[in-house]
Symmetry: C2
Subunit: 476 residues, 2 copies
């Protein structure tokens, strides 16, 4: 393949080609270090044209392309495949971090157009400098890139109000399997002229094309913010309270996060913040409200509504409203440090599931019963974006039990129980983390033949040589 | 083809088959009576299973299917093709109006699941009976069906706040070209498990499959409503005022409709309602605000904000807020009767264009200049959903000029001028009406080879025998 690398050097001027083993190893190891694979080289193009040049040569030399943004994905989607026929293909890793040609805002149109190499945090900051909000917000925002957000249809903590990455995108440009440029960046809110290539690319995990630029929605930046903590009896109480709040403050409610007692216990063990508590109420909810109006008006509205909730719904036991920025930070730290706190106690069995909001309590009880029935001793550390029907249903070993042994022994069975239960409840085994290589076999198993057939037909139509991220998402 | 019809009768029990010429003629004539085509029969299935049976037989006998909802489309998308090789195919018209198996609401999940045969109005009413809002709203809502709304990605007057049909859909089921059932109705707000078949079907105008059921978002029904009329200098003033209002009342502003002086003149000539006027301000804006809170609070907020606008922006000359339900009706009647009033004066040259909100004034001036340059004498009756960047750029004959002769002589040139200008401004030639057969050739001309190539590849992958609505949208 020296000829391929030589041609890259020659035909794609300005392209950075890294062929040292250390660079390759780094780029071929995923965030969770579950996959350590290999590639011919790591390519770092600086613009769309260079991406086109790379794809054309890869097409010619039959070299597969793993496109990689911040490499923060949790399902091995951004590193070459470790197993199957895809693992035997010659690969390059195409890192998009240098693609930073465009970053601009159209204030009247409320749109932001950016190259995919910008990190999510950079984009948020750029919007804020124009007094605008780019609402996508997730734990890895300092490292993950717009390209990765689009490829994985990233979710996060503001989906309830603003939607996933999908809902925030008005258009994108991508390089197709022949090296041609597709899509558009017109930023139109209405445009019925053909099949929606944008939505086909979003969430396709680098398997249909390489997105290089996108036009995203932005919003007037909120002027005030009010964060409340609710102590509730159980997950059903949290669901009921959500309905009450949405019927009165639908537009103001931007986050609604639920945590069980174990989740708060774990985070309080490893971090200094303390959550409001109330005897008898084991579960917790963090609710954030924002508005374009003045702070006192929002606070009054939220306080009144929460008082009415407390009066009407006995399963809501206590309500605390953050009184200042420090308290807001404390409330959010409790929610956001759960994963890290849990990691400090060792490995655990993770699930990223979703169903309808109304089915969440049913799923929760069924899953807990199934686990109990099989006699597996676990500590369920449960939390998630309840407003979106999305739970991170993470199962830790009991305190004092070796977590590595627990994981090894129980992971297979627990995965099976939880996935079977969520599917019985009409839910999904991947709410926001995607499929990648981790769940590609699972997806094939659980998807109907006609739906999987459509996936395969689309993949073959748009990438006939299977150049883009083979072995991920859809297996052909 | 008697054998085909006999097999339908035999193999699809319960299917209504209409083969009389009057029924066929009725179903093969489009809303605007531009197309009068023919078919073997009109089929009226009552459920998904019958649709599957029809498709399987059509596949076997190579009979093309034109799927039709309320037949209110404006681009000939719901009747068999009149020209090209598609017109020579044996066709059936599949009417979806009897598919009414499912209509249900999940209040906690804020979703409504419905068969595609329900009219938009029926769905709105069903949601309202649960104190919920299904926000899609358009002129033909009494006749058009959910299926047609999905196939055409319908827009309307509440897109600014709630999005097009696309943004309102959480999932759909469709029958594929082999008669298999695809998609899902789980109603999930987060689900990253494969390519998004839903968005591929939405807006595909019956060319990729037949949608039979869909799961749609609903919202808490607003409790108060405030409608304002603005007299402004020109379209730029309307754009500027939109920015001002969105920065303060983004969530409350649900419609923002602009009309030029001719549009108001035409509607006032043929209907009794009178618009507020102000010397020097030729253009008009209707802005609707809604909220979940009490009416007086909304009215106070809107009044204050409009007063501030009047003070800050001199190109906004006058503001009137409807004082009661009757005045709200009057304001909306002015906007909604423009098309009908214009029709009363004879035929006119219609355009359904969109660009970014920021480019609208540029487009407006460029298009008017181009028309003047070519020396065509027209009366521009312009109006539209300015908040979405979407104008109905309709050109009437001068008063006293024969409109049929005007249409015949000038339509080609005016279409060309307006379309060329909107494309130069980075816009689209079809904002919400779609492509159908009317604009299929145009779409092929103006779309880049790589994008059109993707359309063709997708169509061939999902409908290899070109059974679904041949000659529409994408020409293969």
């Amino acid at each position: 393949m020296q000829e391929f690398l030589d041609q890259l050097q020659k035909q794609v001027p300005g392209l950075i080609i890294k062929a040292q083993q250390a660079d390759i190893d780094h780029a071929c190891t995923d965030w969770r270090k579950r996959y350590q694979t290999t590639a011919l080289a790591v390519l770092e193009p600086a613009n769309t044209k260079q991406v086109q040049g790379i794809v054309k040569l890869c097409d010619q030399f039959n070299v597969a392309i793993s496109t990689q943004g911040g490499n923060t994905g949790l399902v091995g989607g951004a590193v070459p495949a470790a197993e199957g026929s895809a693992a035997r293909r010659a690969h390059v890793v195409l890192k998009t971090g240098r693609i930073r040609e465009t970053l601009e805002i159209d204030e009247s149109n409320l749109t932001l157009t950016a190259s995919v190499g910008y990190t999510l945090h950079e984009i948020q900051e750029y919007a804020l400098a124009h007094d605008l909000l780019f609402p996508l917000s997730l734990a890895s925002e300092g490292t993950c890139t717009l390209g990765g957000n689009l490829a994985s249809n990233a979710g996060g903590v503001a989906v309830l109000r603003y939607g996933n990455t999908r809902e925030l995108c008005l258009g994108l440009e991508y390089v197709n399997a022949q090296g041609g440029l597709c899509g558009d960046l017109r930023g139109l809110r209405k445009n019925n002229t053909g099949y929606d290539l944008r939505h086909l690319l979003i969430g396709s995990e680098g398997t249909l094309g390489i997105v290089t630029t996108a036009c995203m929605k932005v919003y007037p930046a909120p002027k005030s913010r009010c964060v409340a903590w609710l102590n509730v009896d159980d997950i059903q109480a949290a669901v009921d309270a959500l309905g009450f709040l949405q019927s009165r403050l639908f537009s103001e409610l931007s986050s609604y996060e639920w945590m069980n007692a174990n989740a708060i216990d774990v985070v309080q063990t490893h971090f200094p913040a303390k959550a409001p508590t109330c005897p008898g109420a084991s579960d917790h909810v963090l609710a954030e409200f924002t508005s374009l109006g003045p702070e006192p008006a929002l606070r009054e509205q939220v306080t009144k509504t929460l008082e009415a909730l407390l009066e009407e719904q006995t399963s809501v036991r206590n309500i605390a409203i953050a009184q200042n920025g420090r308290e807001i930070e404390t409330f959010w730290a409790l929610r956001e440090n759960i994963s890290e706190a849990q990691a400090k106690e060792g490995l655990n069995v993770k699930h990223d599931v979703a169903c309808t909001v109304s089915q969440l309590p049913v799923f929760h009880d069924m899953a807990m019963n199934a686990i109990e029935e099989y006699g597996v001793e676990v500590r369920p550390v449960l939390f998630g974006h309840l407003g979106d029907g999305n739970l991170h249903f993470n199962l830790s070993a009991l305190k004092g039990v070796d977590s590595a042994a627990f994981l090894k022994q129980q992971q297979g069975l627990l995965n099976e129980l939880v996935h079977e239960t969520i599917l019985q409840c009409g839910g999904t085994v991947s709410a926001e983390h995607g499929i990648g290589q981790l769940k590609a076999e699972l997806l094939r198993e659980i998807t109907s033949a006609s739906n999987y057939g459509a996936f395969v037909a689309i993949k073959q139509a748009m990438d006939p040589k299977n150049l883009f991220n083979p072995g991920k998402l859809v297996l052909i």
